[in-house]
Symmetry: C2
Subunit: 165 residues, 2 copies
Amino acid sequence: MSGEDEKKEDHGSGWFSMRPIGYVRSPYRHTSEIPKGLGAKHDADGSLEIQAKFEAGLTDIEGFSHLIVIWVFSRSEGFDLLGTPPSDNRPHGVFATRSPRRPNPIGLTVVELVSREGPVLRVRGVDMLDGTPILDIKPYLSNVSPERLRRGWLAEAETRAGPSQ
Amino acid sequence: MSGEDEKKEDHGSGWFSMRPIGYVRSPYRHTSEIPKGLGAKHDADGSLEIQAKFEAGLTDIEGFSHLIVIWVFSRSEGFDLLGTPPSDNRPHGVFATRSPRRPNPIGLTVVELVSREGPVLRVRGVDMLDGTPILDIKPYLSNVSPERLRRGWLAEAETRAGPSQ
């Protein structure tokens, strides 16, 4: 099955149009319920309910232990180029944080795939609100070499916060 | 600086509108030049040229060694729910591959940040075409635990291909 019929770019404006391929089911109804800040654990169970018309696109996904979910901060309005994240008391550029107030309100979460039931993926590690629109799912294929990974202001904030984090 | 003025969802249709925050500069002018398939190495140097109006959003990004770049397959038209990737000779669901022919033509690349010059990020590991629109940049914060990572059909294809890969 293929789809050639739908417009994805308005060439006049340079904007791109994206549609939900499905929705997240999560235990979180309000952003205040989502663990945030240093040491926050994301191990909540949830599911990714993909629209029936896209179900064939999930073929063979069961073989991957982890998936990259790209989704929309659909309750976020506007953006801030500088903001202070819950994990620090200093402002940082939006592209150096996971803030929801981004020029494009795109969120990204790596989840563990627990099982698949037709168009529904049972996953662990959701940090999205219930009802969040999903734009894309990709297999998680490789890690960054740990000895080369530097985590900037986040590592500094963890150091300042001390060993309890 | 913040922006509240721009529409991001057409509530009537359920589609979301996304705009380029900048463009990729890469050595690749045609998709045929981009290394693909098993064992493909992505170590090309390139840059992410962010629009001047978003430059403040890059504050403190220099501290991160790796960035997640979310971009648009702007030369891809339409989608296939099943396709055979360059790394295998068997078809897989689009959400289990990195195919450009996706319901939403969103690409994702993890790059190494080499340096920043104002609104321009020099990076290593680009696999995008020159001129690719960038939608978002996020800091790469953590790896999946290697002992828990399974890579599905890709690991199987590598095994079939033998030790030369």
